[in-house]
Symmetry: C2
Subunit: 136 residues, 2 copies
């Protein structure tokens, strides 16, 4: 069973997530000394964020549980503790937990002052089901 | 007992560390898309790096075990899983494990192309002993 490293964050907006997820902001100083944002995210089983993109890209460090990452038009990738994802700038993508496991990752956004995350609506049940095979 | 998240890295140089430590480079693209370096470090009990500084500063995310962080002229800080350290640019400092525990942290260096780490020689036994009170 995956355990947390950081304190549980605040519940993520249902406008941007399907299912319960919690976001703990560890670092955030856009335009500051580090110009960096670091978030620790816990997804409950089955939870995922909506399709979105980052103008500066983002790094995911998977720290516990099992989850998925998918870029638009590409096959989903299964993720476990220790996996690293380099999300290219402006790539439409989503990430979230397996149906039968929590999922923890750190999200590292460098060059934080280079624009905001853009959001494109929920991952459909069918898109999620395809990612979750054969767990479903 | 603290357990690892990422694969064990390569042994750190004895020219820059006292005692065994292992560094796994998860991201490194100075001047690239992310302009970022992320290292996962495992310190064996008692191991620590030499006094050093980063021109761009660095963020430490403590992911397991017990360790210390100290800036020159300031009292040492005891670190545990979940702690975050914001190291200012050019601050002379060291970090490492308690004498009786391993210590794991991620080191995040934003703006990676803004110069190299500078090194200033080992943490003395007396400096380490002061940090490790009352564990010693």
């Amino acid at each position: 069973m995956a355990t947390s490293i950081f304190k549980l964050g605040t519940k993520a907006s249902t406008a941007r997530f399907t299912g319960p997820a919690f976001v703990n902001t560890l670092v955030s100083d856009p335009g500051g000394v580090y110009n960096l944002a670091v978030h620790d995210v816990k997804f409950e089983p089955g939870a995922r964020n909506n399709w979105h993109s980052h103008p500066q890209g983002q790094i995911l460090l998977c720290t516990g549980g099992v989850g998925y990452y998918q870029e638009r038009g590409k096959p989903p990738r299964r993720l476990e503790k220790g996996d690293v994802v380099e999300i290219p700038p402006d790539a439409h993508h989503w990430h979230g937990a397996a149906p039968d496991s929590v999922f923890y990752h750190l999200g590292i956004t460098p060059n934080a002052n280079r624009g905001q995350t853009e959001w494109y609506g929920p991952v459909s049940y069918e898109e999620y089901r395809q990612a979750a095979k054969p767990a479903f």
